[in-house]
Symmetry: C2
Subunit: 191 residues, 2 copies
DNA sequence: CGAAAATTTGACATGACTCAACTGGAGTGG
DNA sequence: CCACTCCAGTTGAGTCATGTCAAATTTTCG
């Protein structure tokens, strides 16, 4: 089960793991390979899984009334991701989760995950950390939109996600930044 | 203890209350009256309380490098509020919490609150609901910044907080919307 | 290799900002 | 009760950042 290395490493940064716990983890998560543009979640569906990304990347977005894709989050390697709102409440998602590139991940069904959260302190810690990080990330992003112009947002992005421009289509990055692809193209030269 | 009516009502929407639990609540929260512009939390302090607003309103904001006040949230009557990030992590706050007007509130120390969260299902439900709402609100706000222009943001605000313009100084509302007071003044006529 | 999509670039339009001047109301002291 | 001051809010003129649309260029991928 060599795929589990990155997941163990992730968890061990939060809480120590022993062999017994590792075994339960191996039994609970499922490996999956998806291709570029494949969906993990569509608008209107309930998010029933939690995903850990091994390789590749996903984006979370919603379609606005004009039909534009508004990207809220890029999830890269070694991140847990799901639509937390739908995952928590059991209500239909307003967002899509889609692969930007060929992606490998481990996923765990909600019921299994919640059971581990109850019974394994390590996973309880993981969940709490997910919620806290999700919240803190959201707040940073609000301030970024509220306080920064296009150039500074790009600078900020490049610190958070170095090399993202050579990896993710710039039209998607532009959406994430809340600017047009034309503007992104222009400000890249001012970097 | 007639001050507790609104708090009971708030909790009872989430979980039923009996007399015994109400008593514990009365013993745990403290009533406080603060005047306009008074601070509940300053940048650099650790947020050690959770507040429930009975009357009046607060704002949560941070000061950006240019010295501008960036308002992230207005908290009105019948809302719980605190700097969740600092409250949860115990790290110093990057934000201020300040009264917009004369305000009456109930506050509870973190340790007492967490003890109630552990022991009273009603308060456990309250905490979970706070976290979920805080997260969901953040996401809505991200999409609002990403997808809406100044006029549409104002429309959105007036749905969320009807009558806010006659209650909170427009210069603060402008900051919340991420626009200048000049622009706010102009777009109000287009409403 | 060739078609389709992504990116870049130019010309122009426009939404929002800046700065300064003006208006009006709230509070204060005589 | 008036006059004065002090902010908050409004308004006008000019500027700047970003958007729009079309065309040229490059990249991607079947």
């Amino acid at each position: 089960m060599k795929e589990f290395g990155p997941l163990y490493a992730y968890i061990e940064k939060l809480h120590p793991l022993n062999e017994e716990v590792k075994e339960r983890i191996v039994k609970s998560f499922v490996f999956k390979r998806i291709s570029k543009n494949e969906f993990l979640l569509q608008e209107g569906e309930v998010c029933k899984f939690n995903y850990f990304i091994l390789k590749g990347s996903l984006r979370l977005y919603k379609i606005d009334p004009k039909g534009e894709e508004l990207i809220r989050y890029f999830a890269l390697e070694n991140k847990f991701v799901s639509n937390l709102t739908s995952f928590i409440t059991g209500l239909p998602s307003e967002e899509f989760i889609q692969a930007n590139e060929k992606t490998e991940l481990l996923y765990i069904p909600k019921a299994v995950f919640l059971e581990l959260v109850e019974n394994l302190p390590a996973i309880n810690r993981v969940y709490r950390n997910m919620l806290e990080k999700a919240y803190i990330t959201s707040q940073k992003r609000i301030y970024q939109f509220q306080g920064l112009n296009a150039v500074d947002r790009l600078r900020w992005l490049l610190e958070e996600y170095p090399g993202i421009l050579s990896r993710i289509p710039n039209r998607l990055v532009a959406s994430y930044l809340g600017i047009t692809p034309y503007t992104l193209s222009r400000i890249k030269s001012e970097l």
